[in-house]
Symmetry: C2
Subunit: 498 residues, 2 copies
């Protein structure tokens, strides 16, 4: 991939001699787990300290009986006990160019499958347009491309771009436009069989529907957004998912790590020493203090203000700039896969309502039931409205929104989970917000160690909110580690010859 | 689906009384199998007569040891014995709006999965452009959309469409164009991070590549085609496939049919009688003559000239207009899934070379080996070149073509199959070609019975070459059957009260 020359993980300089250097990894999210995995393979003595009752961080898949640890609203997932009824609360998609993540899926034997993400037969719905009724994306795309091409064709006839385009270029461009917009012989867009046919196209010649009013086509923000959603580089088709749930990656790491993972262990203190790092954490009401040679810190940066530390002022200043992002999801267990009867097999419906997106599962096709996503927003105001509600109020609200897309929607809902990441204990956010200039200043500082302390996590990548960012951060910290280690003469000196 | 109001298969009027009416179905392709299935469920006494050694027609999946019955070039598939190493020689994709086929998949418990069809990380390659080197589709799309939007924005500023667009419309349209083409603040296209970044985008801010020369962008027929391939209604994302191979549908029908399927049985004669149909077929050197009450005929229309019959002159004249289509495929077993290392997980590469398309399997991700499609053409001239070769010559030629897309391609090939449908015994073609006016004249004739003889098969649908067309033809013949049956007073009279 031209944009990612990753050829494999950083080869961590191995421990040599008898004394094993000790490393603490704070936080058992994807960045912490991969860091621990690589260090353990190189022979280090690793301990992972995790504040939550579970490993994985935001890589979290819930099934029957799982605890949903929202501040003040602890709930348990009521989905039926069925391996196909699960909900990915955090990451849910993997593009083919996320090479680090794909490397680990391969190395850890995590099975993948194609996930339908873009679905042209799913809907877009904007309350301001078409009387608020949903329309199929394929209809919108045909009309938008058709009108665009027709208008462009008319314009190019006028020689508007004669300086840029030779006669041959113009001819090629016109031919491109005709194909792109499905124009008729006269260069007009009059509807297209790319959006199907009014009569059964298997038995009768195609009779395209009439186009929407031109006025409507380009009016809606939602519709506009849909037209390029699958053009975003991280969402280019095809996307993948882990068979059985995204936490297959967490399980893959845990299967291949023998280092202890201390759960329910909240870090209270991080002190850089001249020859190591002292860490205190609270577990089962007891304060434990350990001394390690190195520390990799995956704790959300905005929590660091509450942890006693002696990090340098520049480092601390940078950490303090991190603002937590908001992200909200609802998963509904549906008694019937009603969407498949509408020809929708996976993918996303977009709406101008607060629930923002509906996702239909694309695995376990034609099964009796399915878990679909009933809300997915990251706009702060939309999130705030959901965050202020109880889980039960959220379900009711999202169900009402769904009715405007699929009449009868509420009647299919058997039970639900809601995940407001900004209210989830030990996370309290998802993704990072920062002013661009702060970002340019802070990131380079935090991508270097402070003493023997390394920050990791998607938070210090350019791609927060994605597992690939978490792995990139881990990888870059490990290459910094190699450099630092090579330059240190420590009490373990003999152990570090590289 | 607005374009297909299929709500379930035709309910065939059941046999009543003691005497079971006898029906012959000629040809065990998808149309024949579904016809037999529905008639059997309604209580009819059905026999299926199939010329080939196997059922399924062009729904054909080959695996280790399977016979490839090409005229003059009988071969056996040498793929490893592995349930994931198979090749769909005929249909390979199912869109969400092919409701008839999806109905049968559900009814027959045929497991489906999402198939990656469009892949923006796969290539397009045209020998005339970019020095013949392949480029990623995502690069092409970003540039094509970018240039198109920039040019359109410039044009609309000039008020070229003032009559059509209000001020508000124009503003909306400009905003749409900016999003569509990923234009900068000045409305210019200068490359886009939608095609990735020159530096690792996980650790450094995105730095888009420079666009291609404008001259190249719209020049290539191949590239132009790619830009709208996934807009064709039958190819809209997402597409599906049968887990384990498309012939899972054939197996599904056969599991649910108890009527005899006579294989290696070539029809020699079809005679309409006043109260039934007489059919003679040759099997194991012996001529068998049977008399049935009704006949459903799935034999390729262009074979009918060689079968003794007493069909009406109009009917025969219509049958004689059918010209067989050409379609050619190669499947290569690859010792390694090299494409996945390039970030390609399924989908299609398009090339101006004779092999036309490469398809990468999207199931069994990260396995050791995979079967990919190494050629797929339906252009008559391209097909003719492959058809004139021996299988071994075809493999060599397609391997050479592949080298221009994936250097080292030939070295991965372990063994291969080739399927020239126009040379496959008992098929000798795929899809139908006919002048439009002939089509309009002939199709309505053949969509009605001649006596008690009904034509079926994708050939008499508007959608030849698709299983959905085959099922639509079967369904419409069965509704004709209901009508005819209701009007007949036959020797079995009592059995037909509807």
């Amino acid at each position: 991939m031209q944009s990612n020359d990753f050829q494999g993980p950083v080869s961590v300089a191995p421990v040599k001699g008898k004394n094993k250097a000790k490393v603490a990894v704070l936080g058992a999210g994807i960045s912490g787990l991969s860091t621990a995995y690589e260090l353990e393979r190189a022979g280090y003595d690793v301990v992972i300290i995790e504040a939550s009752f579970r490993a994985g961080g935001r890589n979290m898949t819930v099934r029957h009986g799982d605890k949903i640890d929202e501040m003040g609203h602890t709930r348990y997932c009521q989905f039926d006990q069925d391996e196909n009824l699960y909900f990915n609360c955090g990451p849910a998609r993997i593009p083919g160019h996320h090479k680090r993540l794909l490397h680990y899926c391969r190395a850890l034997n995590v099975p993948l499958q194609i996930k339908a993400n873009s679905n042209q037969l799913a809907y877009i719905q904007d309350e301001k347009i078409n009387g608020g009724k949903p329309i199929r994306q394929v209809d919108y795309r045909a009309d938008a491309n058709g009108f665009l091409s027709e208008m462009m064709s008319k314009s190019i006839d006028k020689g508007a771009f004669e300086q840029q385009l030779s006669e041959e270029d113009t001819e090629n461009f016109l031919s491109y436009l005709k194909a792109f917009g499905s124009l008729n012989e006269k260069g007009k867009y009059t509807g297209s069989d790319r959006a199907g046919s009014q009569r059964d196209r298997m038995l009768f010649p195609p009779t395209p529907k009439a186009p929407m009013p031109l006025h409507d086509v380009f009016k809606s923000d939602v519709w506009r957004g849909v037209s390029f959603a699958s053009q975003i580089y991280d969402w280019v088709e095809p996307l993948m998912e882990v068979k059985g749930g995204m936490d297959g990656i967490v399980k893959g790491f845990l299967r291949n790590i023998s280092s202890p993972v201390e759960l329910n262990a909240q870090v209270r203190k991080i002190h850089n020493l001249s020859d190591g790092v002292e860490i205190a954490y609270e577990q089962a009401g007891k304060l434990n203090t350990i001394k390690v040679d190195y520390c990799f810190n995956n704790i959300p940066a905005y929590f660091m203000a509450g942890i006693e530390n002696n990090l340098s002022p520049d480092y601390l200043n940078a950490l303090n700039k991190f603002k937590r992002g908001h992200l909200f999801k609802i998963g509904f267990q549906m008694r019937e896969r009603f969407w498949e009867k509408e020809g929708i097999y996976g993918g996303i419906t977009y709406t101008s309502q607060d629930n923002a997106q509906l996702w239909y599962p694309s695995h376990d096709i034609h099964a009796a039931k399915g878990v679909m996503l009933g809300a997915y927003c990251w706009d702060e105001k939309q999130c705030a409205r959901f965050e202020a509600m109880t889980p039960e109020q959220r379900f009711k609200y999202a169900a009402q929104c769904g009715e405007n897309i699929h009449p009868g929607y509420s009647g299919y809902i058997e039970n639900a989970v809601s995940i407001p990441w900004a209210r989830m204990n030990n996370q309290m956010g998802c993704g990072i917000h920062m002013e661009k200039e702060d970002w340019e200043h802070c990131l380079p500082i935090l991508q270097k160690p402070d003493g023997r302390h390394f920050m990791i996590g998607d938070q210090i990548s350019q791609h927060s909110g994605w597992q690939e960012g978490a792995l990139a951060a881990s990888q870059q910290a490990l290459s910094q580690f190699n450099q630092l280690q090579a330059s240190i003469t420590s009490s373990h000196g003999a152990a570090y010859v590289s």
